[in-house]
Amino acid sequence: MSIQSTPKQSWWNRIAHPGQFVAWSAPWLWPLAVLTALLFAMGLWLAFIDSPQDYQMGHTVRIMYVHVPNAWLSQFVYGVMALSALGTLVWRHPMADVSMKAAAPLGALFTALALFTGALWGRPTWGTFWEWDGRMTSTLVLLFIYLGIIALWRAFDDQLRAARIVAVFTLVGAINIPIIKFSVDWWSTLHQPASVFRADGPRMPPSILAPLFVMFAAFTLLFLALHLKSMHTEIKRRRIATLQRKAAQGHTA
């Protein structure tokens, strides 16, 4: 390895090299997973046993503790992707496109989970699995965008070249998502205002907020752990592809 030849490195350079990135980040994986599991245990206990029922919705309110963090992640993951896309295009950071690629399926997964739990919650609350309300509809469109990005990744033979093009499209999508959200809100008449983060403070009682925020933290850490792991997998996949190419080249020469 080239460690002795480069005594001082900034963290930026240290994570720029794939092998060093894995070596540097692998020790974080297990603590992250344990912490995630602990938070999930605590959050689920708070959500299912410790928190009260809703006086209107009864036990079904507990779906919220799973649904809302997923809905948050569906947007947070896109933010991570857009930031990685900037990293790919502007700073040409080699890890940025790995991060971008690893985040896309996770984003699609959390978005699908948000839609699924939303439908489960909607059935007893609204009396229907699917309601064309503003937030559910824009989440559905977001899922389509995630799936389109995954399809774009898969359509390219050369993943290095794909990265920069996907990055352009991801940023175009990032500019577009607020417009889509605005248009869908305009379009839907069945729209309830966002209720967790408000300028005049949260309206929910602490007995609901506490488990909700623990679940927020648990799901976000789950994403970070899965993201890190799938980045490692992607790095290994690329290394295998490089080795195979080298083998093929050596064979023909």
Partner: protein, 217 residues
């Protein structure tokens, strides 16, 4: 500037001599619109009510399906590499292509839309609003489409990728387009539609140029 005009003239000449591509697209638009009554049933009031939606969906699909013609022929015969080295900036080349794409795909659809309006039993005021909404909204579709086409130009058999990518992004166009026709009380929809088209036409050439110049070859 003369390069821009030359680019525009070349694109239009290629479309006119392109073996009836323009006509095919118009035909697709009319047939898509005319097929809906077979699914819905010959219920004239219902058809008149959903006519704006039918016309917009037909136009939306027709414009998405035509996207593959935007860059792929130039990519395949090597013109795209040379256009990247033209004196004209690549974004201007793409702007010319977007404008000509609008002229040869959206404008014929708008001209053919009276046919669908008669078939679907739209009244005259609704039809007038349909024309306005198509005129305001289709530039945004062409511009978004250019981004999708630029993104997928180097993908072999990538013809279906661009519509998949662009359809979700174009939902606001559809919403405000149909809104312009139906929501008479809220006059904001045509303004949003025009704003969307202006913004898309201004930004899309740069995004598409970036995607093409990153696509190598």
């Amino acid at each position: 500037m003369s390069g821009f005009v030359a680019m525009l003239r070349r694109e239009l000449a290629l479309s006119w001599r392109g073996g009836g591509n323009v006509l095919t697209l118009v035909l697709f638009f009319v047939i898509t619109g005319a097929i809906v009554p077979f699914a819905v049933g010959p219920d004239k009031p219902l058809l008149a009510r959903i006519a704006p939606a039918i016309i917009w969906i037909a136009a939306f699909l027709a414009m998405l399906l035509g996207l593959d013609r935007l860059f792929r022929p130039d990519h395949e015969d090597g013109s795209l590499i040379l256009l990247r080295q033209a004196d004209l900036p690549l974004s201007a080349v793409i702007a010319a292509k977007v404008i000509s794409y609008w002229l040869v795909s959206a404008l014929p659809l708008i001209l053919a839309s009276p046919l669908l309006a008669v078939l679907l039993g739209m009244d005259l005021p609704a039809f007038a609003r349909t024309l306005v909404s198509l005129l305001l909204g289709t530039p945004a579709l062409a511009a978004f489409g250019a981004i999708g086409a630029a993104t997928s130009v180097t993908i072999r058999h990538g013809g279906l990728i661009a519509p998949i990518l662009i359809a979700p992004l174009s939902i606001p166009v559809l919403i405000f387009g149909v809104g312009t026709i139906t929501a008479a009380q809220s006059s904001a929809a045509p303004l949003f539609l025009a704003a969307l088209s202006l913004m898309a036409m201004a930004l899309a050439p740069f995004a598409a140029a970036l995607a093409i110049s990153l696509a190598e070859d």
